[in-house]
C-alpha cells in the first residue's frame, strides 16, 4: 500500500506515463514499474528491449534511469529510424477480461449500483514523438491466465482476473499497473441477478490518465435475464473519478456506443465426461 507520506517523493501517474525519453548512442535505460523491469538500449539506429519479471513490487517506480543492464538478458531487436526517443505508455489488454468478484454479488430486480473494478494494464513501448508514435512492443504488466467465457462452441477467449467490486476507487491501493474501470450494473430482469463472473470488454474502452489514477471510461451493463445478452453502453466522456483526466489511449477495437453481448455468467461445469 502506498501511503500518503510516500506520495510526495513518487512520480504521479501522469508523470510516470507521459514522458518522452531521449537516448544517446549506446545508452541503456531502466524502467521498473510494479513487478516488471525492462531495459531499452539504443545502438546504431536499432532498439534493443528486454523485459524481466522480478517478482518484487517496487513502490517507487523507476522511469528511464540510465543503468547498465545485466549480461544475461534476452533482447528483442528492432531496426528503427533516426528518432532516438521512446514513449512508454499504458494500454488496456487486447482481450476481454472476466472479473471474478471475491464475493458473489446479488442485485434485486430493477435495482443497480456503481462499482469500481481494477483492470491490469499492459506496457506499450513506442518510438517517436507523441504525434506520430510507432509501436515497438507490448508487454503484460501482470500475468493473466486465460479463460473461456460463454458456451464452448461460440464463446470467446478472455483473460481472467480476480478483483473485488469496490464502491470507492480509493478503497484499494493505487497500483501503477492497474486502471480503475467504473461499472454501472443494473438488473433489468424480474428475478435476482446472482453472478459469479462478469465480462468486461476492455478492447472497446478508452484509457485516461489523471494525477493519481489510470482509469477507463464508464461502462453501463443492463442484465436481461439468465443466458440472455446484456445491454452494454460505453460512456464517451471521461469518468468522474478525479478531476483533470486526460485521454491517453483510444479503444483498440472501436464500437458503437451501445452493444449487446453476454456479460454475466455462473460458473458451469462441463465435466460431463
Amino acid at each position: 500500500m502506498r501511503g500518503s507520506g510516500a506520495r510526495e517523493e513518487e512520480p504521479t501517474t501522469r508523470e510516470l506515463w507521459e514522458k518522452i525519453t531521449s537516448f544517446e548512442e549506446g545508452q541503456a535505460r531502466l524502467w521498473h514499474i510494479g513487478t516488471i523491469r525492462f531495459w531499452i538500449r539504443r545502438v546504431t539506429e536499432e532498439w534493443f528491449i528486454a523485459f524481466e519479471e522480478t517478482g518484487e513490487y517496487r513502490a517507487h517506480p523507476a522511469a528511464g534511469e540510465e543503468r547498465e543492464p545485466p549480461p544475461e538478458l534476452k533482447w528483442n531487436r528492432y531496426v528503427a529510424g533516426k528518432t532516438a526517443k521512446i514513449i512508454v505508455h499504458p494500454v488496456l489488454p487486447d482481450r476481454p477480461i472476466v472479473i471474478k468478484p471475491t464475493s458473489p454479488v446479488k442485485i434485486l430486480p430493477d435495482r443497480g449500483s456503481r462499482y469500481f473494478i481494477h483492470v491490469p494494464v499492459w506496457i506499450s513501448i513506442m518510438e517517436g514523438s507523441s504525434k506520430n508514435p510507432l509501436l515497438l512492443q507490448e508487454h503484460p504488466g501482470d500475468f493473466l491466465s486465460s479463460t473461456w467465457f460463454g458456451d464452448p462452441d461460440d464463446g470467446e477467449l478472455c483473460f481472467s482476473f480476480t478483483s473485488d467490486l469496490y464502491k470507492n476507487p480509493a478503497e484499494r491501493e493505487d497500483l501503477p499497473l492497474m486502471a480503475v474501470c467504473p461499472l454501472n450494473i443494473r438488473n433489468g430482469f424480474t428475478s435476482i441477478l446472482d453472478f459469479q463472473r462478469i465480462c468486461v470488454r476492455v478492447p472497446h474502452l478508452q484509457l485516461y490518465s489523471g494525477p493519481r489514477y489510470l482509469c477507463t471510461n464508464e461502462v453501463e451493463l443492463i442484465y436481461r435475464g439468465a443466458g440472455q445478452q446484456s445491454h452494454i453502453t460505453f460512456r464517451e466522456s471521461a469518468p468522474t473519478i478525479e478531476p483533470d483526466l486526460k485521454r491517453i489511449a483510444l479503444p483498440r477495437i472501436p464500437v458503437n456506443r451501445n452493444i449487446i453481448k453476454k456479460s454475466f455468467e455462473y460458473i458451469k461445469s462441463l465435466s460431463l465426461y
Binding site: S145, S146, W148, G155, S160, S271
Partner: protein
C-alpha cells in the same frame, strides 16, 4: 494420299472470309476467357468477404467452368457450327459417359452434399478413417488432406460421405485427457491437489471450463486417474508437452510414485527362467578351495 491432297485446293479453303472468321473466333476465345477470369477475380474481391474459404473456392470454380463453357459455345456458334446437332450429340455422349462414370458422378453429388453440410472447411484438421490432416482443397471429386508430415492424401467424396469423419478444430477450445497412474500407497487427496495445481499454474490451460479430474478405478498396478485440461485449439502440442513434463517433475519432487507394469520374459516353455543377479550387493567372501589346487 498424294491424290487426295492433290485434289484439295488450299486457295479455296484459306479464303479471306475463312481467315477473318478464324481470327474472330480466336479473339472471342481469348477475350472470353480473359473476361471470365476477370469476373471471377472481381467477384472474389468484392462479394466474398462474408464467405468461408471453401465457399469462395466453389464460387470461383463455378464461374470459371460455366464461363468457359459459354465461351466455347460462343466460339462454335461464331464458326457457324449447328449447336442443336452438337448438343444432341453431346446428350448421347453424355448418357454414355454417365453410365461409364457412375463413380465419378457419385463423387460429384457427394461433394455437393459435403459442401452443403458444412462439416468442415479448408484449413480444418480432420480425421477420416486412420488418416489425419489439414483440409487442403475441396474439389469436384475428392478432398485433399495435407498430413502433418507433409504428404498429400486424396480421399474421394463418396468415401467421406459413407465414413466417420472427425473435425478436430471445429470448435475454438478442446479438452486434452491425460491418463495417469499412481501407486496404491499414495495419498489420493494430495495427488488430486497436485494435479489441479499443475493445471492452474500452466498458462496455456484455461481456467474455465474447469479442469476435470476423475479417479477411474483400481488398475492392475496403479490407481488410474483421468486429468482433462481445456485449452485453446492452437496450443495442442505445447499443452501436451508442458503438462506431461510438469506432472513427471512434480511427482518426482514430491515422491509420488508412477508405477508401471513389469514383464518377465521366458525364452520358451522348456527353458529355465532368466537368472537374476543382484549387482550392487556386497561381494561374497571367497571360500578357500578344499583340496589346494595350487599344489
Amino acid at each position: 494420299m498424294k491424290t487426295i491432297l492433290g485434289n484439295i485446293e488450299f486457295g479455296n479453303i484459306f479464303t479471306p472470309a475463312f481467315l477473318f472468321g478464324a481470327l474472330r473466333a480466336v479473339i472471342i476465345l481469348v477475350v472470353g476467357f480473359f473476361l471470365v477470369r476477370l469476373i471471377a477475380f472481381l467477384v472474389r474481391r468484392v462479394f466474398t468477404h462474408n464467405l468461408t474459404e471453401q465457399s469462395r473456392m466453389m464460387l470461383n470454380k463455378s464461374i470459371i467452368y460455366i464461363g468457359g463453357i459459354l465461351v466455347v459455345i460462343a466460339v462454335l456458334s461464331d464458326l457457324g457450327l449447328k449447336l442443336s446437332a452438337l448438343l444432341g450429340a453431346a446428350g448421347v455422349v453424355g448418357i454414355a459417359v454417365g453410365i461409364a462414370s457412375q463413380t465419378s458422378l457419385g463423387n460429384i453429388i457427394s461433394g455437393l452434399f459435403l459442401v452443403s453440410e458444412k462439416t468442415f472447411e479448408i484449413g480444418d484438421v480432420v480425421t477420416v478413417g486412420s488418416k489425419t490432416g489439414i483440409v487442403y482443397s475441396i474439389d469436384l471429386l475428392s478432398i485433399k488432406l495435407r498430413t502433418f508430415d507433409n504428404l498429400l492424401i486424396r480421399i474421394p467424396n463418396q468415401t467421406i460421405i459413407s465414413s466417420e469423419l472427425t473435425n478436430i478444430t471445429r470448435f475454438p477450445i478442446r479438452r486434452m485427457d491425460f491418463n495417469i497412474g499412481v501407486a496404491y500407497k499414495e495419498d489420493l487427496q494430495r495427488v488430486r491437489e497436485t494435479l489441479l495445481a499443475i493445471a492452474h499454474e500452466n498458462p496455456l490451460c484455461l481456467e474455465e471450463p474447469e479442469p476435470l479430474l476423475v479417479f477411474n478405478g483400481f488398475g492392475n498396478s496403479s490407481i488410474d486417474i483421468l486429468l482433462g485440461i481445456w485449452f485453446e485449439k492452437s496450443n495442442y502440442l505445447a499443452v501436451k508437452n508442458s503438462v506431461i513434463m510438469t506432472i513427471k517433475e512434480r511427482f518426482d519432487s514430491l515422491g509420488i510414485e508412477i508405477p508401471f507394469p513389469h514383464v518377465t520374459l521366458y525364452a520358451g516353455s522348456a527353458t529355465e527362467p532368466f537368472p537374476v543377479r543382484q549387482v550392487d550387493a556386497a561381494p561374497a567372501k571367497k571360500t578357500p578351495k578344499k583340496d589346494g589346487a595350487a599344489g
